[in-house]
């Protein structure tokens, strides 16, 4: 029964997101973005609700969902840390900093730490190339990653 109630809730909250974009042109991406914001991920149940509401096949919606790197099919940790792996950050020792971070947080790329504190995601450029290496913690930008900043990030996600 818990399951059923849960499903209904997902459907209701998903439909509310769909409703805000009802009259928009090409509404699928804004809806998926909205659903991910709402739940922290895109539940399988939501895909079905969206497909029905937009009169698309479930395969169409799943195809779009699975194409984009941002969308998750399960909840992330309490914090999401995106670390840039692109060239400008590489030139400034980004790979080493990323290794230290993985060690400090006990998590690998695309993984969530066992205590559920943090999910680590690679990102290819945050546009902070003039202060490489860079990262983004819960939407807040961090530049010139060094031992000190890594320590601060580790402390913040464990808090």
């Amino acid at each position: 029964m818990t399951m059923e109630r849960n499903d209904t809730e997902i459907a209701t909250r998903t439909l509310a997101v769909v409703e805000t974009w009802r009259d928009a042109e090409g509404p699928l991406l804004p809806i998926l973005n909205g659903v991910q914001k709402e739940f922290g991920y895109v539940p399988d149940e939501a895909l079905q609700v969206i497909a029905k509401a937009l009169n698309l096949s479930r395969a169409d919606v799943y195809g779009v969902f699975s194409f984009y790197h941002d969308y998750r099919d399960r909840p992330a940790g309490r914090h999401v840390l995106k670390v840039c792996r692109a060239e400008s950050c590489q030139a400034m020792g980004g790979d080493e900093m990323a290794d230290r971070l993985r060690e400090a947080l006990g998590v690998d790329w695309h993984g969530t730490s066992r205590d559920g504190a943090v999910t680590l995601e690679p990102v290819y450029c945050l546009g902070l190339c003039a202060c490489s290496p860079s990262a983004m913690l819960d939407g807040e930008v961090v530049g010139r990653l060094d031992e000190e900043r890594i320590g601060e990030i580790a402390a913040e996600v464990r808090a």
Binding site: V64, Y68, A86, E87, Y124, G127, A130, V141
Partner: protein
Amino acid sequence: MTVTIYVPRDSGALALGAEKVAARIAGEIKTRGLDAKIVRNGSRGLYWLEPMVEVETPAGRTAYGPVAAKDVPSLFDADFLSGGRHGLSLGDPEKIPYLARQTRLTFARVGVIDPVALADYKAHGGLAGLEKALKMTPADIVRQVTDSGLRGRGGAGFPTGVKWKTVLGTPGEVKYVVCNADEGDSGTFSDRMVMEGDPFVLIEGMTIAAIAVGARKGYIYLRSEYPHAEKVLNEALAVARKAGVLGGSVLGSKHAFDIEVRMGAGAYVCGEETALLDSLEGKRGQVRAKPPLPAQKGLFGKPTVMNNVISLASVPIVLDKGAAYYKDFGLGRSRGTIPIQIAGNVKYPGLFEAAFGLTLGEIVDGIGGGTKSGRPVRAVQVGGPLGAYFPRELFDTPFDYEAFAAKDGLIGHAGVVVFDDTVDMLKQARFAMEFCAIESCGKCTPCRVGAVRGVEVADRIAGGVEPEKQVALLEDLCNTMKFGSLCALGGFTPYPVMSALRHFPEDFRPHPLREAAE
């Protein structure tokens, strides 16, 4: 009189602690009972000095930087509100050589004004281009843009006016203006700086495009990695609507136009114009075969102007000052100015807008000051992850579309990423293939499969497995990708790979041989 203090809200400044600095300044103003206000401006683009705080004094603006939150009380003690001397004093920001040497046309207001204050924008020459455009015929607007020589600053360098002319000449009740703000190339951040520092110039540029071609709706497709730009854009759009710049009657004219920001979802390939269109339509961001061109059949199959942020943001000054004024800068077929973004391992990273024609050496050594690590510069990647690596021997190449193409490179979106001598060029070549494999949209085989095979070949070279055969295979693979791919992702990935191989062959030899060579 209320003193104005500027603390940037640019992402780069925020990444270096600008928010804490602003909070601390606000706190000090309150406890000390001073008559001062904080304006959150964009960044001047001198990132080694960020967070750079500026004060409007009777003698003009004076700057301090890089300011940390802990420096704030001492700034007040030094009476920085009257321009007092402090260890972090930089004086008149416009006189800092890095800024004084630039030709800021597109970036004239970035870092200077309050990005979301329309009055500030107008006081600094904003809307003059749009006002002129409203008095012109569509064909005249298009002619001005064509005559200016402005080419697509997103990377392809296609003449902007020619695109507009095609859209103008294609009949259709519904047309669109789409701004490509999916700035995914590593080493580039000029789009972000404009959107965060002077969003009205982009809005004005898009509106001029709309009037020229007869579009009533515009979209800014913005990458999800830029949440701060999204915020500033939406604030600016709300202000523009309220002031009648956008809406049913643009500045009181018969033209209706509005703009909506649409967020991407982390797919590099959506920076490719046709993939972007599919994404905007709510599909997988897959590349379309051309023709038809987006100008003829673009968004939802309608004629669409599709330009990069910097291209559109350069339009208002072209209309305001005239095509000849803009065209007077630059050389050859590269006219006007180009905002060069200097990044990576470099002493003075930042944005440098200048007329085309500076040599790569002037940019890296003269302006960038060489590497931050103090080691020799070994390689410079120009034009993002699909751009070629240049060795020091090619530092005399002038920054110009054709000159870079002649050296088997590209200027792309004008990002310059500097590497010191610790860089392993085989690793960089492998990364180019890996990146292509991760970001491939999957539509064409050379890109989808070729990139994966490229990573494997690079790994075999690194492992010393028949290295000579593998290098020949890599060259063959690059050839197939270059000529067989549908878009620039697969088609240009060979640039970084082949340039690494050509200019740094020693890194592609097996390890024992490499060590013997050293």
